[in-house]
Symmetry: C2
Subunit: 118 residues, 2 copies
């Protein structure tokens, strides 16, 4: 059962999990663009481009401003801060210096490394 409701972090990670969408973000980081402009830059149709943009908007990573018949898209990287915060929570587990510190602490307790007898 889908017990969990869709969280902002879900939509964010799902959005950036696609290489095309990451490329779109990279493209928008240099300048704003219309849907047509993005479709021209990537080997996908206009419709597919529109769908990708919708997912990026759903994650809050892209903003849209309708000017006449043009939909001008701009990057909004702010939601990435939450993702960075989540990842940062695990930084001590891969950072060399902090990992060494962790080993020191766990060794003090006589526990090999997070291993825990059931």
């Amino acid at each position: 059962m889908g017990e969990y409701r869709t969280l902002p972090l879900d939509r964010l990670f799902v959005a950036v999990a696609d290489p095309t969408r990451r490329a779109i973000l990279a493209r928008l980081s240099s300048s704003d663009a219309r849907v047509t402009d993005l479709a021209a830059d990537f080997p996908i149709s206009l419709n597919s481009t529109s769908k990708h943009i919708k997912m990026l908007e759903r994650a809050g990573l892209v903003r849209r401003e309708v000017i006449g018949r043009d939909h001008v898209l701009s990057l909004n990287a702010a939601p990435l801060a939450e993702a960075a915060a989540w990842i940062n929570h695990y930084k001590s587990f891969w950072d060399d210096r902090l990992a060494a510190l962790e080993i020191l602490v766990t060794k003090k307790r006589g526990i090999p490394k997070g291993r825990k007898k059931k």
Copy 2:
């Protein structure tokens, strides 16, 4: 067509895009656990748990050590470093100080924010 092949970053972001899998990572960050242990902690079946673990392994975030009939899982946060690096690439777009600087610049031009004439 699936022009792009699946990149490591794809598998990583897909893996962490699910709240159950993030919860599993959080659980493993405190101590190692077996598949059964994880299944007991979350309201999903053993089989579903096994599948989630497979996706986490595919992303390199979880390591498995078979001890007898037990499969002991441990966290490997190292792949998150690549995700952090990718996100860090966009940090200047949401950082407060740099954002304030951007507002100054755009206000000087009399443009609300990120508006850019084609």
